[in-house]
């Protein structure tokens, strides 16, 4: 297996862009990544494009990636569309990594692109409910906020976590989002505001849920040889893991066993431990999700993340910066774009280019994306570790 470097990243602002077509969002992010890498569209040898909801939101099925990349002038190469719930973008990135690591290609492109908002929240909710088993759970009325509300209630029962502690995730991530020029929300909030906002599915209020939004991100992955020739500031892919749940119907849903498995595999592959991380972009689609996932991945001991939040240990200047970008809660979550946007965020920190939200002297970062809820388990869990 060959070493793989990320030498270019790009990302649009995240937000609601009713008048901007999908292909335009994807074009901008890809063009920025090419400029960042100092490359031409002709240099790209293979591309993977992640998207999750276009089939329902805009009706674009089957050939989205090709439509986006023709706008960039990318032609006559293999292009594959990747759909894997919230992990669509990170799965596209992993495919691109495999293409280069295997030795078959030297330059690969990963793009994530999504329009989640078309002016109709009911339609967006329906699209997202597609991350459950449509003929069973979604058909009965289980939404994604509903799925996480149920997990939150079991978690709170088991560990004694309070609503105030859950809300602190949103407060922290909104504070970080204010420092990120690409963030959908740039407004601080208080615990009281989070708790008093509209109830979506008890205990999750609207400010405990990621917003609906649009955006795109792109990354260029190359072999060591190409990196040495083309880049002064490569970031290395130290681990890439993708896995799926067990779907046991009597599993304890207050734990994220799947993150445990993926985290263990990723740290083993990178040859480091959680204590070596400087930052982690963790899939905080809901406040409870950041809790369960940082603990599941082994970044924080079981049942202790409430204390971490109380003590500020996951702030940008804390023991381990969790979601310095603002995370999904503030930066936004255009589903298929998120995984690649996390890679861009980690790369900027490792290159020292993260501006006001820069994690000081960052050398190693983790990006985690998990998607869906089937048989109350997780269909897709993707972890990447990047290092300087």
């Amino acid at each position: 297996m060959r070493e793989v470097a990320v030498i270019g990243v790009g990302m649009t602002n995240f937000g609601k862009f009713i008048d901007t077509p999908l292909k335009e969002l994807g074009r901008r992010a890809t063009w920025d990544a090419l400029k960042d890498a100092g490359m031409s569209p002709n240099d790209i040898q293979i591309a993977y494009v992640g998207n999750a909801c276009a089939s329902i939101i805009t009706g674009q099925v089957m050939v989205l990636g090709q439509i986006v990349l023709k706008e960039v002038g990318i032609r006559n190469i293999p292009i594959t569309n990747v759909e894997n719930a919230c992990a669509s973008g990170s799965s596209a990135f992993r495919e691109a990594w495999m293409a280069v690591a295997s030795g078959i290609y030297d330059v690969a492109l990963a793009v994530g692109v999504e329009k989640l908002y078309a002016g109709d929240t009911s339609l967006s909710t329906k699209a997202l409910a597609g991350a459950t088993e449509v003929e069973y759970e979604a058909n009965l009325g289980l939404t994604m906020p509903g799925h996480w509300a149920l997990r939150a209630k079991r978690f709170m029962e088991k560990y004694g976590t309070t609503r105030e502690q859950l809300a602190k995730v949103s407060v922290k991530n909104h504070r970080n989002g204010c420092l990120n020029p690409r963030s959908q929300y740039k407004k601080e909030c208080t615990v009281e505001e989070v708790l008093n906002s509209r109830m979506i599915a008890d205990p999750l209020t609207i400010m405990s849920c990621n917003p609906l939004g649009d955006g795109a991100a792109a990354a260029i992955l190359v072999s060591r040889e190409v990196a040495a020739r083309c880049s002064a500031r490569p970031v290395w892919v130290a681990a890439s893991v993708l896995t799926t749940g067990s779907y046991d119907l009597n599993r304890d849903i207050s734990r994220n066993q799947l993150e445990g498995l993926a985290g263990k595999q990723a740290f083993q592959m990178a040859g480091i431990g959680p204590e070596d991380l400087d930052l982690a972009e963790v899939h905080d689609c809901f406040t409870i999700a950041e809790f369960m996932r940082v603990e599941g991945l082994g970044l924080v001991p079981e049942g202790e993340y409430g204390k971490w939040l109380d003590e500020g240990w996951s702030n940008i200047d804390g023991k381990l910066a969790v979601n310095p970008s603002g995370g999904l809660l503030a930066k936004g979550h255009p589903v298929g774009a998120t995984g690649v946007a996390q890679i861009a965020e980690v790369a900027w920190h490792l290159r020292g280019e993260a501006g006001e939200r820069q994690v000081p002297n960052a050398k190693v970062g983790l990006a985690h994306c998990s998607g869906g809820g089937v048989a109350s388990d997780t269909p897709a869990c993707c972890v990447h570790i990047l290092k300087k």
């Binding site: 009965l140 939404t143 149920l150 209630k153 599915a201 205990p203 119907l249 599993r251 849903i253």
Partner: protein
């Protein structure tokens, strides 16, 4: 084309999900006769024995204990929120069923472990005027 008005039908939301035995509804799943594990929705290969050799269609329990529930306030409009939704561990199979919860509006009214029973209720009327029904679980009356 016939212009005879079609008779209103009762259509289950999930085809084949339940069956009536007299007045008692039962979920229809599968069971592995080797390891004893049950599945709902039905799986036709046992996830544990990894073979289809011992799997059989099975009438599953219609009672169980509440695992957890919530009230969903925002959903696609066909579901007409708010509504209570949760997981029930059915007995004797001890597997988790995703289900609408009948008879509660307050997300903090029922405790985990509450005894529950299955009922069949009308969920909505479809565009053709048919009644769409589904299984739900409700607290066993004391």
């Amino acid at each position: 084309m016939s212009d005879v008005t079609q008779e209103k039908k009762t259509i289950p939301l999930i085809p084949g999900a339940f069956e009536m035995e007299g007045n008692e509804p039962h979920l229809i799943g599968t069971k592995c006769t080797k390891c004893g594990k049950a599945f709902f929705p039905p799986r036709y290969i046992c996830s544990y024995c990894l073979t289809d050799e011992w799997i059989e269609r099975a009438k599953l329990g219609n009672k169980g204990k509440l695992y957890v529930y919530t009230v969903i306030n925002v959903a696609s409009r066909e579901f007409n929120p708010p509504y209570a939704f949760g997981f029930v561990m059915i007995e004797p199979e001890n597997i988790r069923i995703a289900t609408l919860i009948s008879g509660v509006q307050d997300p903090n009214e029922l405790q985990s472990g509450t005894e529950m029973e299955m009922v069949i209720e009308k969920l909505r009327t479809d565009k053709a005027g048919n009644d769409v029904t589904t299984f739900k679980f409700r607290r066993v009356a004391k």
